[in-house]
Each structure stands twice: as structure tokens, then as C-alpha cells.
Amino acid sequence: MAAACGRLLPRSAAAGLAGLTLTAARPALPGRCFSSSSCRISSDGKPAKFQPPPKPVIIDRQKQREERRFLSPEFIPPRGRTDPLKFYIERKDMIQRRKVFNIPEFYVGSVLAVTTADPYANEKANRFVGICIQRGGKGLGATFVLRNVIEGQGVEICYELYSPRVQAIEVLKLEKRLDDNLMYLRDALPEYSTFDVNMKPVSHLDHEEIPVNKLQVRMKPKPWSKRWERPKYNIKGIKFELPEKKMKEAQKWSQPWLEFDMLREYDTSKIEEKIWKEVNEELKK
């Protein structure tokens, strides 16, 4: 099928095919299609040796998609003395819920729209659009906080991922930011937290990397709810317009020994591998 494509279409059009990219293995015969075997006549007049068409190099996007693994952070068990059986039982329930209800992949900094069932609303459903500023909790009690500014009032709602009251979670814009926790948006100018409630979902192709928005946010004048300039918060996404003296003073609270503390190390790579395999197998069933 791919070879037939290579014969029928010129090379430039072939690049537009979704999922498959064809590059000719041999250097250019200009735009000309290869003739079929029946009318092969070389310049000598003698029947020419059969030259097979160049093998198309297929870059399989599906494999690339599978290689990019995303394991939702609430699957990774916290460090402690609990029996792994308890996490296994909880994971079974989480997978069961995911089979019935689709929880999409999203990160802190992506814009989501969540519809929940509400007995006191008209239509009995409530839709809220906002940017995800925090993902907390492990296991079934995992939560995420969405923030938006509605009619000048900042609103943050904390939703439980596995609550049966959520009817739908759609990702309107899938992107990452420079930090894992965007609580500083409370002290940033409101334009950085406003998102249109009727926003159209921005399409994201499966094989592309998740874009990292390197936006540096401008803050309201101090006092802030937390001293975000201090190194313990390690925030990269704020454009600090504070004087140099204040920034240097904030570095007094730095704890440079923390990154070398071996007791705080928690290597989750092997645990993630095992859980990824388990979750994938269960979801495919």
C-alpha cells in the first residue's frame, strides 16, 4: 500500500499524509513517477533491468506516541511504611473508574473545563473553566485546583479526580508551565488568570511534545500571600521586579544542602515502570 502511494503521488504531496511520512531512499529523480514494469525501456532500446522503487521510510507516529509515557501522578504511592497491598487495592478501584469515565492527561498550567452534577443548579450540571494550578493527593483522593477570574472575582475550585459527581473533564489547552505549583497566580495581575469561559479547545496532535509555556508572570505590588521570591518555593515563572537588594536578602533563606540530603531522595523510576505496565494492561482489558 505504501509502495503504491509512492508510485501514484509525487513526493511533495506524500508529506501531508497523516501519520506516515515517506522519504525516498534514493536521490532525486525529478518529480517523475516511476513507470510500471510493462513499459520499461531504457535509452538503449534493450529491456532495462528492473529497478525496484525506493523503499519509503515510514516514521511510525504511533510508536512515538507510545514511547511518550504519561503516568498520572496520583498512581505513584507516597514513601512510607504502608503495605503495598493497600495501594494495589486502591489502584484497582482507580482503574475501574477510568474504564467507565475518561480522565485525560493534563498538567499544571493546562486549561480545563469540568462539568459536575449539582442538585441546586438549573440543568443539574455545573461547568467551570480554569487553569490547573495544583495537583495534590494520592490514590482515590487525588484533587486538582482550577482557577479563573469571573467578573473581576478570582475563583478557585478544588475538584476530586475520582468523585462520581464529575460528569466530564475536557482539556481545552494542554500545556506545561515552568513550575509545578501555580499558587502565585493569586498575587499576579488578574489578566494571567482570566480565561474565556466559552473558549474553544485548542487542538493538540498526539505525537507532538507537550509545549512548555515559558511565560514569566508580572505580579501585583507586595505584600503577597507568600514570599514567592524565597528559594524554598523555587519559582521560575515570575518576572521579579524587586530591587537587587531584596533578591539578595531572600537568598539568605536558601538551604543549599537540601539537594544533597540522601534521606530525602525518593527514586520513583522503577515503581513508575511497574505501575505503568500494570495500569496499561488493566486498561486494555
Binding site: 503495605d83 497491598l85 487495592i89 469515565f101 443539574k124 490514590g139 482515590l140 476530586e160 462520581p164
Partner: protein, 315 residues
């Protein structure tokens, strides 16, 4: 007469179990006991060879045996109306009945049944301590609990007990040793208010203040004072059972339970008069796994939201 313990030196003549054994023998013993334990726990029948004891029917007055379980942790669950509740997972791990003590023998009002929990190593206890376990044909247990039982609910020693002994919708009492906090002051231990942090207080911020009156001229017995807090047995009453997992023997019990994670707890049917009607017709005297009853893997209470259902809507 002052104690002269520091003058007399004790000669410790005890040995540990493998001091005089060769390496090979130690490995062999360990392997043998592991296999023996597996065989004993896997057999669902009672290991003792005499006839089974008579099975009676449940009456409203009968009190049946409880179970010894391991506290695994806590988890949220949701009801069909969308409300969230926190539940504790209790795993019934290798629970066997150890001994039957009749009313006359114990000297109490009812007969007693000794029940043992999680398996433990047999090598670090004396022969006399291991006697009970040997007589029942059961591995050595980490915790032994006593249950007061009516005479129609007695069970033969050696029978295993499972989580299916309880059913969703019934109420239980859970007893365990609370987390030990050590020597604590009066504010944490008894909830006293202490004194203000400033305004002239000299060295007095967390002290009890006055301990008695002038007229009493003494301190009453039981006065709340600083001391060791925690590490005592306490019971949570009237906890609802939401769900039972028969494959892994886990009971999902409403609310919190005293004790740290992986501690052993004693679970029994609730004695509270409000729940007398909810505990009707339980598996009596216990749930026998070798019987004909085949239970599904998960038993749910009717209020609970199962994750196989679609999301909750308020129509």
C-alpha cells in the same frame, strides 16, 4: 529499704534459638517452618481430626466471635447520593480460633474464645508459650484476643476466620492500642488551655496551674497531670461496614480506628443497642470457607457507589 539492684549483677544464661545450631540446620528449620505455615494457613478446614462441633442457628441474644485484623490504611468512598466518607481498610490476615474456655473454667458470665491474628516467628518464644498454638495446630500468632461468646456460638479451635464473617451494612466495634505519644504535658494530654504567651507571664505557658483547692488540703486521686500518653487499648464503637473484599479478606470500616498503620486490631459485632436491628442474621457461628457458599469477590453495601456504574446525576 533502698533497692540494691545496682550491686547485684545478673548472669544472663539465656541463649538465642540458633546459638548452638549449624548454619545448614538454621536454614533448614526456617524453610521447614515457612512451608508448614503455608500449608496450615492454606487449608480452609479445621486441622484437628475430631468431629466438627455442632452448628446452631442465630438468635437475637447470641453473641458471636470477632476477628483479629491488620489496619492497612484509609481511603475515600462515595455514596450513591455523591457524599464522600472516609473508610479504614482492615485486612483479616491468618486469623484462627486458638482455644475454647468454658464458662466454669474462666469464671465469668459467658464462655470465651481465644482468637489469634497475623502469623509470627515461632523461634523467639518459649515452649510453654507455644503450647496453645501447637494444640490448635496453627502457626504462632502475633496477637491473641479474647472474645466473650454465648454457648451456641462456640467454634472448634483451629478453624480459620475470614473477612466474610462480617457483612456490609452491619456495625462493628474496633479495639486497638492507640499510637504512643510518650511522656506528654497537660495541654496535649488533657486539653488544658495553658497560659498566655505574653503580658508578663514568667516561665508559665503550658503548665496546669492550680491542682486543688485550699479546703481539700490534698490532691484528689485521678487528678489530670502530665504523664505517658497513648499506647493503651481504646475502642471505636458503632462503625459501619461498607464493603468486604473476599479475595484479599479486607473489611472497609467507616471512619477512623485507633492504632498506627499495620497494627493489629480486634473487630467484633457492635454492642450498642441502636444497632441491634442492623446486625440481624449474620453468618453464624462464622463463615466457613470450605462450605458450599460461593461469595462474589466484592460485597458492597446498597448505599455505596460502585466504580462500575456511570457518574452520579441528580435528575
Amino acid at each position: 529499704m533502698r533497692q540494691l539492684g545496682f550491686v547485684v549483677r545478673h548472669v544472663n544464661s539465656t541463649t538465642w534459638w540458633h546459638e548452638h545450631l549449624s548454619e545448614e540446620n538454621v536454614q533448614f528449620l526456617k524453610k521447614i517452618t515457612a512451608e508448614e505455615y503455608k500449608a496450615q494457613t492454606a487449608s480452609k478446614l479445621c486441622p484437628l481430626k475430631d468431629e466438627p462441633w455442632p452448628l446452631n442457628d442465630w438468635k437475637p441474644d447470641s453473641i458471636r466471635v470477632g476477628v483479629v485484623a491488620v489496619k492497612l490504611g484509609m481511603m475515600p468512598i462515595w455514596t450513591k447520593s455523591g457524599k464522600k466518607h472516609a473508610v479504614t481498610l482492615l485486612k483479616v490476615q491468618d486469623c484462627h480460633v486458638l482455644r475454647y474456655i468454658s464458662k466454669e473454667e474462666s469464671g465469668g458470665k459467658t464462655s470465651k474464645l481465644l482468637v489469634g491474628g497475623k502469623n509470627a516467628s515461632p523461634f523467639f518464644k518459649s515452649e510453654s508459650a507455644m503450647k496453645i498454638f501447637k494444640e490448635a495446630g496453627v502457626p504462632r500468632k502475633q496477637k491473641v484476643a479474647t472474645f466473650n461468646v454465648t454457648d451456641d456460638a462456640i467454634i472448634k479451635p483451629g478453624t480459620p476466620l475470614y473477612a466474610a464473617h462480617f457483612r456490609p451494612g452491619q456495625f462493628v466495634d474496633v479495639t486497638a492500642k492507640t499510637i504512643g505519644k510518650g511522656f506528654q504535658g497537660v495541654m496535649k494530654r488533657w486539653g488544658f488551655k495553658g497560659q498566655p504567651a505574653s503580658h508578663g507571664q514568667t516561665k508559665t505557658h503550658r503548665r496546669p496551674g492550680a491542682i486543688s483547692t485550699n479546703k481539700a488540703a490534698k490532691v484528689y486521686r485521678g487528678k489530670k497531670m502530665p504523664g505517658k500518653m497513648g499506647n493503651i487499648y481504646r475502642t471505636s464503637f458503632g462503625l459501619k461496614v461498607w464493603r468486604i473484599n473476599t479475595k484479599h479478606d479486607i473489611i472497609y470500616v467507616n471512619g477512623s480506628v485507633p492504632g498506627h498503620t499495620n497494627c493489629l486490631v480486634k473487630v467484633r459485632d457492635s454492642k450498642l443497642p441502636t444497632y441491634k436491628d442492623c446486625n440481624k442474621n449474620p453468618p453464624f457461628p462464622t463463615f466457613f470457607a470450605d462450605g458450599d457458599e460461593k461469595l462474589p469477590e466484592d460485597l458492597y453495601d446498597k448505599e455505596i457507589f460502585q466504580f462500575t456504574d456511570p457518574s452520579v446525576t441528580y435528575a
